[in-house]
């Protein structure tokens, strides 16, 4: 059986792209968090977290995003989220006003443009 969530990582110069497919909850959030932060090096300028294929996220996942945003901010690195409009994940993030802390783009191209990545 596939894992609850699958994380795929890509690098485009100094922009890291992380895609999460599946479900994020208390059972896998620690593992995801660790692998995400490992992907961001000192040379990275930004992390784009693509939640397009994330079908479920709850408060543990929200905590992960807030934590990651705070860490990256301290290191003067950017975090942007990709969340399709009218999705379940979008609804959950809206419930905690995530957009006030972390910029959210409706698609990947938009997010990459915003961080100034060529890819």
């Amino acid at each position: 059986m596939p894992e609850l969530a699958r994380l795929s990582l890509e690098s485009d110069g100094d922009v890291e792209l992380a895609r999460v497919a599946g479900e994020v909850d208390a059972s896998n959030v620690d593992d995801l968090s660790l692998r995400l932060l490992e992907a961001v090096t000192n040379k990275s300028r930004a992390l784009v977290l693509d939640l397009t294929e994330t079908v479920y996220i709850d408060s543990s996942g929200i905590s992960l995003i807030f934590d990651a945003a705070a860490r990256l901010r301290n290191r003067r690195q950017q975090l942007r989220l990709v969340v399709p409009p009218r999705s379940f994940v979008g609804e959950v993030l809206a419930a905690v006003s995530m957009e006030r802390s972390v910029p959210i783009d409706p698609d990947l191209a938009g997010a990459l443009r915003a961080v100034g990545s060529s890819g």
């Binding site: 059986m1 909850d25 709850d58 408060s59 905590s63």
Partner: protein
């Protein structure tokens, strides 16, 4: 004058008759049924006692052939006790006892003083044994040992003596064989029981139960097994199998197959592939034939993928009481020499359905058609109570009622929970259970005409409430959470109850669960008491007002 010889004849006839009566009494003394209740050591001691009295001899000894088939070892003795104490052994073929075992017939040594080379045991010389009579112990045409008697004065053993001793030998052989079988079947049963899982997993929304019934005949124990493997928090492996034959050898092979299934199951996902590898393993072992079903159960979707190697069809019991054998094509049994591959088949359980796996001992009856057994199984399964534990018990007792069960029987049942207006499940307080729990809640909400939004809303709210219980209410241990769902006038109410005390949220971003629950529910109530915390979640289902 004519009366003289007649008197003489009478006297002779009388003494023959007397001798016959004595012999009969002697025979009765060694075939005494009461002896059967003694354990082997006491039985041997008592028989040697009686035989020395009856035959008026000074020594008696039993030697048994060891497992190697080539050595005799002293097992019991009278008048030669040191032989046993010192563990006297000799090769089959050598010495007196060795020759009796080798030639498989009675041997008499009339006078050892004249032929001292005929024995190798120094004890016989030390004890000044002069005459010896030995007979083989034979079970099913195989020599398992030797019984011999001896006298310290020269003695001519008669045909009657030989006959009587052989009778005692047969008795001894039978007792030894019985005791060996009893020990073996005891080991087999212990081994078997130790290989069957003690506690079955209790995943949310599914119930598992199993029963094993050993064969009525002790020595018939051995080849059946079932197993449940926790492959991941959301996937179980289920096995049921039957090794041909009985006794220790069957039980041991069963243990090897069981371990092999476990190993392959962790390695590959497809049940057909697991069985294909298992079949190769079985060929490599050159062991006996076996039938097996291996299945995986997805705890989220209730999909059961299975492959079958010559094993009886699983029975699918529907919620409406109808039943269907899953007779999809199968590969051959293991160990038949055929190179085989096995295919996956899928059946998905709907709410309140049961899948029953069993071994052939349940449906096979001497002189009956297999289809009669299958019909009886369907009837018993449909009539039995829903609870899977009870179902297994009732099916077993109904199908084995009044029958001396010749074969052992195993039954394994897996059942999905019914999704009525009232749902109650108890789950271990572990984060790994959350995804399965969400699937269960979505399913329940959808069954009661909830929209996709309703399903998603309850999934996250319940998951949050449970995550809070897991994180705050409990330390490590065997704690559980109780989830209860009910429906009143189109409004769904779910309660999540734990028996711990919620601590204040830790960390800056903790404590987000409650706002999230409130966002998706019409109403959220949290009550913390001395005996735990209860979260009550309400939301109206459907597009109604």
């Amino acid at each position: 004058m004519s009366s003289e010889p007649s008197n003489h004849e009478d006297a002779a006839a009388e003494s023959v008759a007397e001798e016959a009566v004595t012999r009969l009494e002697d025979v009765q003394r060694v075939t005494d049924a009461a002896l059967a209740y003694l354990d082997l050591d006491d039985l041997l001691a008592e028989l040697l006692n009686r035989v020395t009295e009856i035959l008026e001899v000074d020594t008696a000894a039993v030697l048994l052939v060891e497992d190697d088939g080539r050595t005799l070892a002293a097992r019991a003795a009278k008048g030669l006790e040191e032989e046993v104490e010192e563990g006297f052994r000799l090769p089959v073929g050598r010495g007196f006892a060795g020759r009796v075992a080798f030639r498989r017939e009675p041997i008499v040594i009339p006078d050892l003083e004249r032929t001292p080379g005929e024995v190798v045991n120094p004890l016989l010389r030390e004890k000044r044994v002069r005459s010896l009579l030995g007979v083989p112990l034979i079970v099913e045409a195989e020599v398992i040992g030797v019984l011999h008697v001896g006298t310290t004065s020269a003695r001519e053993f008669s045909d009657g003596d030989i006959e009587l001793l052989q009778m005692v030998a047969d008795r001894v052989a039978l007792a030894i064989e019985r005791s060996r079988l009893a020990v073996q079947s005891q080991i087999a049963e212990t081994l078997q029981r130790s290989l069957l899982p003690r506690n079955l997993p209790r995943p949310p929304g599914l119930a598992l139960a199993a029963r094993y019934l050993p064969a009525a005949h002790e020595s018939a124990v051995g080849g059946d097994w079932y197993d449940v493997i926790e492959l991941s928090p959301r996937r179980l492996g289920l096995t049921i199998g039957d090794v041909a034959g009985h006794g220790l050898a069957a039980a041991t092979y069963m243990g090897r197959l069981r371990s092999a299934v476990r190993a392959y199951a962790l390695d590959v996902e497809s049940p057909g592939e697991v069985l294909t590898r298992l079949a190769q393993f079985a060929e490599h072992e050159h062991s006996r034939m076996a039938t097996v079903i291996y299945a995986t159960l997805n705890l989220d979707t209730w999909a059961v993928d299975f492959a079958r190697a010559g094993h009886p069809y699983p029975l699918h019991l529907k919620a409406d009481g109808s039943a269907e054998f899953l007779s999809a094509e199968a590969g051959p049994p293991l160990g038949t020499g055929a190179v085989a591959t096995y295919e996956d088949h899928r059946v998905t359980l709907d709410a309140g359905e049961t899948l029953i796996f069993y071994t052939d001992g349940l449906i096979e009856r001497r002189g009956q058609l297999l289809s009669d057994g299958e019909t009886a199984l369907v009837e018993a399964a449909a009539d039995a109570p829903d609870d899977p534990e009870l179902k297994c018990r009732v099916i077993l007792s109904k199908l084995t009622e009044g029958i001396d069960v010749a074969d052992d029987v195993a039954v394994l049942a897996v059942q999905s929970i019914g999704l009525g207006e009232l749902l109650e499940v108890e789950v271990p307080a572990e984060a790994e259970q959350l995804a399965t729990l969400r699937h269960l809640i979505r399913r329940w909400v959808a069954t009661h005409d909830g929209t996709d939004d309703d399903c998603a809303a309850f999934a996250i709210a319940v998951s949050e409430a449970c995550a809070n219980s897991i994180e705050h209410a409990y330390g490590p241990g065997d704690a559980t959470i109780t989830l209860r769902a009910s429906l009143v006038d189109g409004e769904a109410k779910l309660t999540v109850r734990d028996r711990g005390e919620w601590r204040d949220p830790r960390g800056a971003n903790r404590g987000l669960g409650i706002p999230v629950m409130k966002e998706f529910m019409d109403d959220v109530q949290i009550e913390t008491g001395d005996d735990g915390t209860t979260v009550e979640l309400r939301r109206r289902l459907g597009d109604g007002p």
